[in-house]
Symmetry: C2
Subunit: 167 residues, 2 copies
């Protein structure tokens, strides 16, 4: 059995490309905060991040989230320079189930917008890195914040971070 | 490698004990629908399930969710009679990480309310069945609908259901 690791030593990045729904992004921030993951938002966003708007949306924890907002995906990738093997994309048409994603020390989990998914320009940058979360045809997709939670925790499975509330 | 199974052949039940937030329950319904899981709600609920209220909350897919509402946990368990080994409880103080939950053909994943968690009376019914989803101390807990998504998909990992959108 793998030895549990402190969640603080793991590098997880969640990248939302043009998210549209304030509440989803807020909830994803909460999930990221809980596992020390860094949240990257790629503009344009479908909502405002002004103090007033964040307050109105009733987002818990938002001020504590490790957050960077980028003007474009190119700006993000030029600055952060993720290695190809550190990137996993989530799309409905992703070839492999998310359970097969690799486990790396540093990982970038990239998600598209609620209604439009990931742009082709991002998908073609990372061939062989597309994953799906299986579902039937009853739903168009999972809610974005649910999908991020599922994928982010799967990316931590082999690391088995400790639950700080039990220490 | 395990052979992928059709999601239709798997029996998954999500049980929410006294949920408080309409939107969370609605989003959990969407997740359940996507993997053919049955949703059980234990009263009292913190919201109304009337047509008007469901419409007002803007819940997608709600009318398609396989749903049973029970007047109490006792009513649920007396009628459904889940076997002890089919039950997994999720609480912040759960002893084992959710990655260690068993995989059964039929499973009942039981969650407490957003603010109060699971009642002790339910926890004591199922000793050794309590699991946590690891986090640091920055958040009190994950959002309920995120936690359900994470746990439900983990319960399907060994079954590896196919992604109907790729067939």
């Amino acid at each position: 059995m793998t030895r549990p690791a402190h969640i603080e030593n793991v590098q997880r990045h969640v990248v939302l490309v043009c998210p549209e729904v304030h509440w989803n992004t807020g909830n994803i921030g909460r999930t990221c905060l809980g596992v020390n993951a860094h949240l990257h938002l790629i503009e344009p966003l479908g909502f405002s991040l002004s103090e007033k708007e964040v307050k109105r949306a009733g987002l818990d924890y938002w001020h504590k989230v490790i957050l960077t907002v980028w003007s474009s995906f190119q700006a993000f990738s030029a600055h952060i320079k993720p290695k190809k093997e550190e990137v996993v994309l989530f799309t409905k048409s992703g070839e492999k189930p998310f359970w097969d994603m690799p486990s790396r020390e540093r990982m970038f989990l990239i998600f598209g917008s609620e209604t439009r998914g990931l742009p082709e320009s991002v998908i073609t940058c990372y061939p062989d890195a597309s994953y799906h979360i299986p579902s039937n045809l009853e739903i168009r997709s999972l809610n974005l914040s649910t999908a991020v939670g599922i994928a982010l925790y799967e990316s931590l499975r082999k690391i088995r971070p400790v639950h700080a509330w039990l220490e």
